[in-house]
Amino acid sequence: MTIKLEQHIDPQLIPVLEKVHDPEIPVLSIMDMGVVRSAQYHDDVVEVKITPTYSGCPAMDVIGDDIVNAFKAINVKAKVSLVLSPAWTTDWITPKGRQALEKYGVAAPLNEEADKAALLGNKRIVKCTNCGSSNTKLVSQFGSTACKALFQCEDCLEPFDYFKCLK
Protein backbone atom coordinates (compact mmCIF):
# COMPACT_ATOMS: atom_id res chain seq x y z
CA MET A 1 0.00 0.00 0.00
CA THR A 2 1.26 3.43 -0.85
CA ILE A 3 0.83 6.18 1.71
CA LYS A 4 0.26 9.49 0.01
CA LEU A 5 2.45 12.41 0.91
CA GLU A 6 0.35 15.17 2.41
CA GLN A 7 2.03 18.50 2.20
CA HIS A 8 0.94 21.86 3.53
CA ILE A 9 3.35 24.24 1.96
CA ASP A 10 2.80 27.94 1.43
CA PRO A 11 3.48 28.28 -2.36
CA GLN A 12 5.56 31.44 -1.92
CA LEU A 13 8.05 29.47 0.21
CA ILE A 14 8.71 26.77 -2.40
CA PRO A 15 11.48 28.63 -4.29
CA VAL A 16 13.48 28.95 -1.05
CA LEU A 17 12.98 25.29 -0.10
CA GLU A 18 14.04 24.20 -3.58
CA LYS A 19 17.41 25.81 -2.95
CA VAL A 20 18.13 23.45 -0.04
CA HIS A 21 19.80 20.22 -1.11
CA ASP A 22 20.63 16.89 0.44
CA PRO A 23 24.27 17.30 1.50
CA GLU A 24 25.04 13.70 0.54
CA ILE A 25 23.20 13.73 -2.80
CA PRO A 26 23.66 17.37 -3.85
CA VAL A 27 21.57 17.03 -7.03
CA LEU A 28 18.42 16.42 -4.99
CA SER A 29 16.54 19.31 -3.45
CA ILE A 30 14.60 18.59 -0.27
CA MET A 31 11.42 19.19 -2.27
CA ASP A 32 12.44 16.48 -4.76
CA MET A 33 13.15 14.11 -1.88
CA GLY A 34 9.68 14.60 -0.48
CA VAL A 35 10.88 15.27 3.06
CA VAL A 36 9.11 18.61 3.52
CA ARG A 37 5.75 18.04 5.21
CA SER A 38 4.72 21.60 5.86
CA ALA A 39 6.03 25.13 5.63
CA GLN A 40 3.86 27.99 6.83
CA TYR A 41 4.21 31.50 8.14
CA HIS A 42 3.25 31.90 11.79
CA ASP A 43 3.35 35.62 12.37
CA ASP A 44 6.71 36.47 10.85
CA VAL A 45 8.42 33.15 11.52
CA VAL A 46 8.40 30.30 8.99
CA GLU A 47 7.77 26.94 10.59
CA VAL A 48 9.04 24.01 8.55
CA LYS A 49 8.34 20.37 9.33
CA ILE A 50 10.51 17.70 7.76
CA THR A 51 10.44 13.90 7.87
CA PRO A 52 13.70 12.00 8.32
CA THR A 53 14.56 9.50 5.60
CA TYR A 54 16.39 7.09 7.93
CA SER A 55 16.31 7.46 11.75
CA GLY A 56 20.04 8.00 12.02
CA CYS A 57 20.56 9.93 8.81
CA PRO A 58 23.21 12.55 9.69
CA ALA A 59 22.03 14.64 6.73
CA MET A 60 18.86 15.61 8.62
CA ASP A 61 20.69 17.90 11.08
CA VAL A 62 22.52 19.57 8.21
CA ILE A 63 19.29 19.96 6.23
CA GLY A 64 17.68 21.61 9.26
CA ASP A 65 20.55 24.11 9.51
CA ASP A 66 20.52 24.71 5.75
CA ILE A 67 16.79 25.53 5.80
CA VAL A 68 17.30 28.07 8.58
CA ASN A 69 20.21 29.62 6.65
CA ALA A 70 18.30 29.71 3.35
CA PHE A 71 15.57 31.78 5.02
CA LYS A 72 18.08 33.88 6.91
CA ALA A 73 19.55 34.89 3.54
CA ILE A 74 16.24 36.57 2.72
CA ASN A 75 15.92 37.99 6.25
CA VAL A 76 13.25 35.58 7.40
CA LYS A 77 13.39 33.64 10.64
CA ALA A 78 12.72 29.91 10.33
CA LYS A 79 12.12 27.11 12.80
CA VAL A 80 12.54 23.46 11.81
CA SER A 81 11.06 20.41 13.52
CA LEU A 82 10.95 16.69 12.73
CA VAL A 83 7.79 14.67 12.10
CA LEU A 84 8.13 10.89 12.30
CA SER A 85 4.69 9.74 11.26
CA PRO A 86 3.78 8.68 8.65
CA ALA A 87 7.29 7.45 7.99
CA TRP A 88 9.08 8.58 4.85
CA THR A 89 8.99 6.27 1.84
CA THR A 90 10.99 6.36 -1.39
CA ASP A 91 7.63 6.75 -3.19
CA TRP A 92 7.76 10.39 -2.12
CA ILE A 93 10.79 11.13 -4.29
CA THR A 94 9.38 13.16 -7.21
CA PRO A 95 9.77 12.05 -10.88
CA LYS A 96 12.14 14.99 -11.30
CA GLY A 97 14.10 13.76 -8.30
CA ARG A 98 14.35 10.25 -9.73
CA GLN A 99 15.72 11.63 -12.99
CA ALA A 100 18.26 13.76 -11.13
CA LEU A 101 19.38 10.68 -9.16
CA GLU A 102 19.93 8.59 -12.30
CA LYS A 103 21.82 11.39 -13.98
CA TYR A 104 24.02 11.75 -10.89
CA GLY A 105 24.91 8.05 -11.07
CA VAL A 106 22.59 6.65 -8.40
CA ALA A 107 20.03 4.11 -9.66
CA ALA A 108 16.51 5.14 -8.57
CA PRO A 109 14.54 2.78 -6.29
CA LEU A 110 12.53 -0.04 -7.92
CA ASN A 111 9.12 -1.11 -6.66
CA GLU A 112 9.02 -3.16 -3.46
CA GLU A 113 8.93 -6.61 -5.03
CA ALA A 114 11.61 -5.93 -7.63
CA ASP A 115 13.76 -4.30 -4.95
CA LYS A 116 13.63 -7.42 -2.79
CA ALA A 117 14.57 -9.64 -5.73
CA ALA A 118 17.46 -7.34 -6.65
CA LEU A 119 18.82 -7.09 -3.11
CA LEU A 120 18.66 -10.80 -2.46
CA GLY A 121 20.68 -11.20 -5.64
CA ASN A 122 18.00 -13.33 -7.30
CA LYS A 123 17.43 -11.15 -10.32
CA ARG A 124 19.48 -8.84 -12.44
CA ILE A 125 17.14 -5.90 -12.84
CA VAL A 126 18.91 -2.82 -11.50
CA LYS A 127 20.02 -0.82 -14.53
CA CYS A 128 23.58 0.46 -14.71
CA THR A 129 23.57 4.26 -14.52
CA ASN A 130 26.59 4.39 -16.82
CA CYS A 131 25.63 2.14 -19.76
CA GLY A 132 22.02 1.15 -19.07
CA SER A 133 22.72 -2.60 -19.01
CA SER A 134 20.69 -4.76 -16.62
CA ASN A 135 23.55 -7.22 -16.35
CA THR A 136 24.49 -5.93 -12.89
CA LYS A 137 25.32 -7.64 -9.62
CA LEU A 138 24.89 -6.73 -5.98
CA VAL A 139 28.24 -6.04 -4.31
CA SER A 140 26.99 -4.99 -0.89
CA GLN A 141 23.56 -4.54 0.72
CA PHE A 142 24.82 -1.34 2.31
CA GLY A 143 26.53 1.34 0.22
CA SER A 144 28.09 4.73 0.90
CA THR A 145 25.11 5.73 3.07
CA ALA A 146 22.36 3.81 4.87
CA CYS A 147 19.89 4.53 2.07
CA LYS A 148 21.95 2.97 -0.70
CA ALA A 149 23.26 -0.44 -1.78
CA LEU A 150 26.35 -1.00 -3.90
CA PHE A 151 26.09 -2.60 -7.36
CA GLN A 152 28.51 -3.27 -10.18
CA CYS A 153 27.81 -3.51 -13.90
CA GLU A 154 29.13 -6.73 -15.44
CA ASP A 155 29.19 -5.19 -18.93
CA CYS A 156 30.96 -1.84 -18.47
CA LEU A 157 32.36 -2.79 -15.02
CA GLU A 158 31.20 0.50 -13.48
CA PRO A 159 30.41 0.32 -9.75
CA PHE A 160 27.37 2.40 -8.78
CA ASP A 161 24.96 3.09 -5.91
CA TYR A 162 21.35 1.96 -5.93
CA PHE A 163 18.84 3.90 -3.82
CA LYS A 164 17.03 1.19 -1.84
CA CYS A 165 13.25 1.05 -1.87
CA LEU A 166 11.90 2.05 1.54
CA LYS A 167 8.22 1.36 2.19
Binding site: S55, S85, Q141, F142, A146
Partner: protein, 251 residues
Protein backbone atom coordinates in the same frame (compact mmCIF):
# COMPACT_ATOMS: atom_id res chain seq x y z
CA UNK B 1 0.45 4.90 34.00
CA UNK B 2 3.00 7.11 35.70
CA UNK B 3 5.59 8.87 33.60
CA UNK B 4 8.38 7.21 35.58
CA UNK B 5 7.12 3.73 34.66
CA UNK B 6 6.78 4.78 31.05
CA UNK B 7 10.33 6.13 31.01
CA UNK B 8 11.66 2.87 32.46
CA UNK B 9 9.69 0.93 29.88
CA UNK B 10 11.20 3.01 27.07
CA UNK B 11 14.71 2.49 28.47
CA UNK B 12 14.09 -1.25 28.18
CA UNK B 13 13.75 -0.83 24.41
CA UNK B 14 15.96 2.16 23.69
CA UNK B 15 19.01 1.02 25.67
CA UNK B 16 19.20 -2.12 23.53
CA UNK B 17 19.45 0.07 20.45
CA UNK B 18 22.10 2.31 22.03
CA UNK B 19 24.32 -0.48 23.33
CA UNK B 20 24.09 -2.64 20.20
CA UNK B 21 24.72 0.51 18.15
CA UNK B 22 27.82 1.22 20.26
CA UNK B 23 29.11 -2.35 19.77
CA UNK B 24 28.63 -2.10 16.01
CA UNK B 25 30.28 1.34 15.95
CA UNK B 26 33.42 -0.24 17.39
CA UNK B 27 33.81 -1.99 14.04
CA UNK B 28 34.12 1.29 12.16
CA UNK B 29 37.39 0.91 10.28
CA UNK B 30 37.88 -2.59 11.71
CA UNK B 31 35.38 -4.71 9.75
CA UNK B 32 36.76 -7.83 8.08
CA UNK B 33 36.03 -6.38 4.63
CA UNK B 34 35.06 -2.96 3.35
CA UNK B 35 31.48 -4.07 2.62
CA UNK B 36 30.88 -5.62 6.04
CA UNK B 37 32.55 -2.65 7.73
CA UNK B 38 30.15 -0.28 5.98
CA UNK B 39 27.17 -2.55 6.64
CA UNK B 40 27.76 -2.86 10.39
CA UNK B 41 28.36 0.85 10.82
CA UNK B 42 25.26 1.65 8.76
CA UNK B 43 23.23 -0.58 11.05
CA UNK B 44 24.83 1.20 14.01
CA UNK B 45 23.67 4.49 12.53
CA UNK B 46 20.08 3.23 12.20
CA UNK B 47 20.11 2.02 15.80
CA UNK B 48 21.59 5.24 17.17
CA UNK B 49 19.00 7.19 15.18
CA UNK B 50 16.24 5.14 16.77
CA UNK B 51 17.86 5.68 20.17
CA UNK B 52 17.74 9.43 19.65
CA UNK B 53 14.02 9.36 18.88
CA UNK B 54 13.33 7.37 22.07
CA UNK B 55 15.61 9.50 24.28
CA UNK B 56 14.21 12.77 22.94
CA UNK B 57 10.80 11.48 23.94
CA UNK B 58 12.06 10.46 27.39
CA UNK B 59 13.64 13.90 27.86
CA UNK B 60 10.29 15.45 27.08
CA UNK B 61 8.42 13.08 29.45
CA UNK B 62 10.87 13.60 32.32
CA UNK B 63 9.77 17.21 32.76
CA UNK B 64 13.30 18.10 33.84
CA UNK B 65 15.80 20.03 31.84
CA UNK B 66 17.32 16.92 30.40
CA UNK B 67 18.58 16.28 26.90
CA UNK B 68 18.99 13.10 24.88
CA UNK B 69 22.75 13.39 25.50
CA UNK B 70 22.36 13.42 29.29
CA UNK B 71 20.37 10.21 29.02
CA UNK B 72 22.90 8.50 26.77
CA UNK B 73 26.06 9.65 28.50
CA UNK B 74 25.38 10.45 32.13
CA UNK B 75 23.61 7.47 33.59
CA UNK B 76 25.38 4.87 35.73
CA UNK B 77 25.68 1.23 34.72
CA UNK B 78 22.74 0.05 36.82
CA UNK B 79 20.47 2.59 35.17
CA UNK B 80 20.85 1.03 31.73
CA UNK B 81 18.12 -1.53 31.06
CA UNK B 82 19.46 -3.29 27.97
CA UNK B 83 19.52 -7.08 27.72
CA UNK B 84 22.83 -8.89 28.26
CA UNK B 85 22.89 -10.14 24.66
CA UNK B 86 23.55 -6.74 23.07
CA UNK B 87 26.48 -5.84 25.35
CA UNK B 88 28.46 -8.99 24.50
CA UNK B 89 31.78 -8.15 22.83
CA UNK B 90 32.76 -8.46 19.15
CA UNK B 91 34.87 -11.59 19.71
CA UNK B 92 35.07 -12.32 15.99
CA UNK B 93 32.89 -11.72 12.94
CA UNK B 94 30.88 -14.87 13.64
CA UNK B 95 29.95 -13.38 17.03
CA UNK B 96 29.03 -10.02 15.54
CA UNK B 97 26.69 -11.67 13.04
CA UNK B 98 25.19 -14.14 15.53
CA UNK B 99 24.53 -11.45 18.16
CA UNK B 100 22.96 -9.31 15.44
CA UNK B 101 20.82 -12.14 14.10
CA UNK B 102 19.58 -13.24 17.54
CA UNK B 103 18.64 -9.66 18.34
CA UNK B 104 17.24 -8.66 14.91
CA UNK B 105 14.65 -11.45 14.90
CA UNK B 106 13.41 -10.34 18.32
CA UNK B 107 13.66 -6.63 17.48
CA UNK B 108 11.48 -6.93 14.40
CA UNK B 109 8.81 -8.98 16.21
CA UNK B 110 8.80 -6.41 19.02
CA UNK B 111 8.44 -3.43 16.68
CA UNK B 112 5.65 -5.10 14.72
CA UNK B 113 3.67 -5.16 17.96
CA UNK B 114 4.88 -1.80 19.27
CA UNK B 115 3.45 -0.05 16.21
CA UNK B 116 -0.01 -0.84 17.67
CA UNK B 117 0.87 0.90 20.92
CA UNK B 118 -1.71 3.44 22.05
CA UNK B 119 1.16 5.82 22.71
CA UNK B 120 1.37 7.81 19.49
CA UNK B 121 5.06 8.57 19.74
CA UNK B 122 6.12 4.97 20.40
CA UNK B 123 3.92 3.80 17.56
CA UNK B 124 5.50 6.35 15.18
CA UNK B 125 9.05 5.40 16.17
CA UNK B 126 8.23 1.70 15.73
CA UNK B 127 6.72 2.23 12.28
CA UNK B 128 9.83 4.07 11.20
CA UNK B 129 12.24 1.56 12.72
CA UNK B 130 10.50 -1.50 11.23
CA UNK B 131 11.68 -0.50 7.77
CA UNK B 132 15.28 -0.34 8.93
CA UNK B 133 15.27 -3.41 11.11
CA UNK B 134 13.71 -5.65 8.41
CA UNK B 135 16.76 -4.83 6.37
CA UNK B 136 19.09 -5.64 9.27
CA UNK B 137 17.44 -9.01 9.72
CA UNK B 138 17.82 -9.76 6.04
CA UNK B 139 21.53 -8.92 6.24
CA UNK B 140 22.29 -10.93 9.38
CA UNK B 141 20.22 -13.97 8.28
CA UNK B 142 22.05 -13.94 4.99
CA UNK B 143 25.42 -13.99 6.73
CA UNK B 144 24.36 -16.71 9.20
CA UNK B 145 23.61 -18.92 6.19
CA UNK B 146 26.79 -17.92 4.40
CA UNK B 147 29.01 -18.63 7.41
CA UNK B 148 27.13 -21.72 8.61
CA UNK B 149 26.99 -23.31 5.19
CA UNK B 150 30.45 -22.02 4.28
CA UNK B 151 33.89 -23.45 5.03
CA UNK B 152 34.70 -25.78 7.92
CA UNK B 153 36.30 -22.90 9.78
CA UNK B 154 33.44 -20.45 9.28
CA UNK B 155 30.95 -23.09 10.33
CA UNK B 156 32.91 -23.96 13.46
CA UNK B 157 33.26 -20.31 14.46
CA UNK B 158 29.65 -19.34 13.94
CA UNK B 159 28.46 -22.48 15.76
CA UNK B 160 30.71 -21.53 18.67
CA UNK B 161 29.08 -18.08 18.73
CA UNK B 162 25.56 -19.56 18.60
CA UNK B 163 26.41 -21.92 21.47
CA UNK B 164 27.87 -19.11 23.57
CA UNK B 165 25.20 -16.49 22.93
CA UNK B 166 22.17 -18.76 23.15
CA UNK B 167 22.05 -18.49 26.95
CA UNK B 168 21.22 -14.79 26.61
CA UNK B 169 18.16 -15.28 24.39
CA UNK B 170 15.63 -16.13 27.08
CA UNK B 171 16.01 -12.75 28.75
CA UNK B 172 14.43 -11.16 25.69
CA UNK B 173 11.08 -12.61 26.79
CA UNK B 174 11.37 -11.71 30.45
CA UNK B 175 8.88 -9.15 31.73
CA UNK B 176 9.92 -6.54 34.31
CA UNK B 177 7.38 -4.80 36.54
CA UNK B 178 7.53 -1.75 34.30
CA UNK B 179 6.90 -3.96 31.25
CA UNK B 180 3.79 -5.39 32.94
CA UNK B 181 2.45 -1.94 33.78
CA UNK B 182 3.11 -0.79 30.21
CA UNK B 183 1.22 -3.79 28.81
CA UNK B 184 -1.72 -3.22 31.14
CA UNK B 185 -2.06 0.39 30.06
CA UNK B 186 -1.86 -0.49 26.37
CA UNK B 187 1.41 1.21 25.51
CA UNK B 188 3.71 -1.80 25.82
CA UNK B 189 4.23 -5.19 24.21
CA UNK B 190 3.76 -8.48 26.02
CA UNK B 191 7.07 -10.03 24.96
CA UNK B 192 6.15 -13.48 26.29
CA UNK B 193 3.79 -13.82 23.33
CA UNK B 194 6.68 -13.40 20.88
CA UNK B 195 8.69 -16.37 22.12
CA UNK B 196 7.24 -19.18 19.97
CA UNK B 197 7.42 -17.18 16.79
CA UNK B 198 11.00 -16.17 17.64
CA UNK B 199 12.13 -19.74 18.10
CA UNK B 200 10.40 -20.80 14.93
CA UNK B 201 12.17 -18.15 12.81
CA UNK B 202 15.57 -18.63 14.45
CA UNK B 203 15.42 -22.42 14.11
CA UNK B 204 14.41 -22.26 10.48
CA UNK B 205 17.38 -20.09 9.56
CA UNK B 206 19.89 -21.97 11.71
CA UNK B 207 18.80 -25.22 10.10
CA UNK B 208 19.10 -23.73 6.65
CA UNK B 209 22.61 -22.66 7.67
CA UNK B 210 23.32 -26.29 8.68
CA UNK B 211 23.86 -25.14 12.26
CA UNK B 212 22.75 -26.93 15.42
CA UNK B 213 20.25 -25.31 17.74
CA UNK B 214 21.84 -25.52 21.21
CA UNK B 215 20.07 -27.44 23.93
CA UNK B 216 20.74 -25.10 26.81
CA UNK B 217 18.72 -25.54 29.96
CA UNK B 218 20.16 -22.62 31.92
CA UNK B 219 19.74 -19.04 30.82
CA UNK B 220 21.49 -15.93 32.03
CA UNK B 221 19.56 -12.76 32.72
CA UNK B 222 19.85 -9.52 34.66
CA UNK B 223 20.38 -6.73 32.16
CA UNK B 224 16.75 -5.69 32.18
CA UNK B 225 17.09 -5.07 35.94
CA UNK B 226 20.33 -3.18 35.41
CA UNK B 227 22.59 -6.04 36.53
CA UNK B 228 25.04 -6.35 33.67
CA UNK B 229 27.92 -8.57 32.61
CA UNK B 230 31.53 -7.51 33.16
CA UNK B 231 31.71 -6.21 29.58
CA UNK B 232 29.23 -3.41 30.21
CA UNK B 233 31.55 -1.29 32.38
CA UNK B 234 34.24 -1.22 29.72
CA UNK B 235 31.71 -0.40 27.05
CA UNK B 236 30.32 2.51 29.07
CA UNK B 237 33.81 3.78 29.87
CA UNK B 238 34.36 4.09 26.15
CA UNK B 239 30.91 5.51 25.42
CA UNK B 240 30.91 8.08 28.22
CA UNK B 241 34.57 9.08 28.26
CA UNK B 242 34.24 12.49 26.60
CA UNK B 243 31.24 13.68 28.64
CA UNK B 244 32.77 12.44 31.91
CA UNK B 245 36.16 13.98 31.25
CA UNK B 246 34.95 17.24 29.73
CA UNK B 247 31.46 17.79 31.20
CA UNK B 248 29.04 19.58 28.85
CA UNK B 249 31.52 19.52 25.97
CA UNK B 250 30.04 20.00 22.52
CA UNK B 251 31.36 19.04 19.09
Amino acid sequence: MKNENKIQYIYGIADNALILGQRLSELCGHGPSLETDIATTNMALDLLGQTRSYYQYVAQLSGEEKTEDDIAFLRTERQYKNVLLVEQPNVHFGYVITRQFLYDVFHLLLLQELQNSNDEMLSAIAKKAIKEVSYHQRFSSDWIKRLGDGTDESREKVQEAVNDLWKFTDELFHMTDDDKIAVESGIGVDVTTLKDKYHQIVKEILEEATLMVPEVKWFQKGGKQGVHSEHMGYLLADLQYMQRTYPNMKW
